[in-house]
């Protein structure tokens, strides 16, 4: 027996930004990607941003499907190229809020070079990386974040390459905002996403997310729920921790929190300053189009 309620299904806050006609989505039972979308929907709602000016860019992968399910101006680009696509968009139309929402393989494997250069430039992108420690969509291969000794379809005897510590990579390359949570931390995720939407510059959020189908089962971490409970148990809140200390090992502790939140002129700030100074009147007319609202 449930309480008598007349509220419609459509009043679910996520529906405001969801292409509902495409549901059910392709994600497996217990996959964490959908959970992050709820957090993103709440962050957008609270941000009071004009959604006509918010764009979401994804690459390829299970995580890359997010763009296709969002009822925003969303772009499903080629593998690894979400950041260059987003870069062009932001520079051509600085008034847009540009969110890059993709997987670890997409963003820091094939797309790693774009990632470090966008951070170096401090381009105003909000980069959300779903880290499930594997290439989910293609069958659970080892990727740039797979922890040492983890099993994958391409490391049947255990991975022996060290994986990236993504917060450290982002900070070292120049990001002005760096945070990490797991899919267990839903309220924190919504809060952090809200902060990123307001931040000027390259902001990065790593979300540790369960891929029960291809990573969890192979590594005896159980189903999605067991992985969520594991994240809850293993997470250690470490706001402001030096990022070089927050690498993740298989079954080890997961440092979570906001690690970096600093100010540094963004790509567009510096571009406007430099071109305004050198081109003077010639550039003055363009400046108004190149200043974010």
């Amino acid at each position: 027996m449930s309480a008598p309620v007349e509220a419609p299904l459509a009043a679910n806050p996520v529906e405001a930004v969801l292409r509902s006609f495409r549901m059910p989505h392709i994600w497996c039972p217990g996959c964490g990607i959908g959970t992050t979308v709820n957090c993103f929907a709440r962050a957008l709602e609270q941000s009071k941003l004009n959604l006509d000016k918010v764009v979401v860019v994804s690459g390829i992968g299970c995580s890359g499907r997010v763009a296709g399910y969002l009822d925003l101006d969303s772009f499903h680009t080629t593998h690894g190229r979400a950041i260059p696509f987003a870069t062009g968009m932001k520079i051509a139309n600085p008034k847009l809020t540009v969110v890059v929402y993709s997987g670890d393989g997409d963003l820091v494997g094939i797309g790693g070079n774009h990632f470090i250069h966008a951070a170096r430039r401090n381009l105003d992108l909000k980069v959300i990386c779903i880290n499930n420690f594997t290439y989910g969509m293609t069958g659970g291969q080892m990727g740039p974040t797979t922890p040492v000794s983890a099993l994958s379809s391409t490391t049947p005897f255990g991975c022996f390459e060290p994986g990236f510590n993504l917060p450290h990579l982002a900070e070292s390359a120049g990001a002005v905002y760096v945070a990490r949570w797991t899919t267990y931390h839903v309220r924190q995720l919504a809060h952090t996403m809200g902060e990123m939407l307001r931040k000027n510059g390259f902001s990065f959020l790593e979300i540790i997310s369960p891929c029960p189908t291809l990573y969890g089962q192979r590594n005896r971490l159980g189903d999605g729920l067991a992985m969520m409970k594991h994240f809850k148990q293993q997470s250690v809140l470490r706001h402001g921790a030096p990022t070089k200390e927050v690498g993740i090992e298989l079954q080890g502790p997961i440092a979570v929190g906001k690690f970096v939140d600093i100010e540094r002129p963004s790509f567009l700030d510096v571009m406007n300053e430099q071109l305004g100074r050198t081109l003077e009147a010639e550039y003055a007319g363009c400046v108004k189009d190149h200043v974010p609202d």
């Binding site: 709820n38 267990y184 839903v186 999605g224």
Partner: protein
Amino acid sequence: MPEEAPPEAKKTKKVRGTVVINLARCKGCGFCIAFCPPQVLEFAEDYNPQGYHPPRLTDPDGCTGCDLCGLYCPDFAIYGIMLKNGAPPSAAREKSDES
């Protein structure tokens, strides 16, 4: 002397929140059930069209409408709302299209 609220008002006040469930979308992951703070959800016995057991409220009076289930559900199949005196906020009141 402080006035006692009439017994009916007390009773309706107890219902603080509830959930709206899209039964067909659920994939039975159990996130909503495991992480509901007052533990008022459980798997229903019935199957949905996809072959999963969706959640159901065990104790309607216990739900606070905190919407944590709505934040967790990876399939956008449930969300919580706060109730005022047992009724959903008027903006949200429309005909239910629950399937």
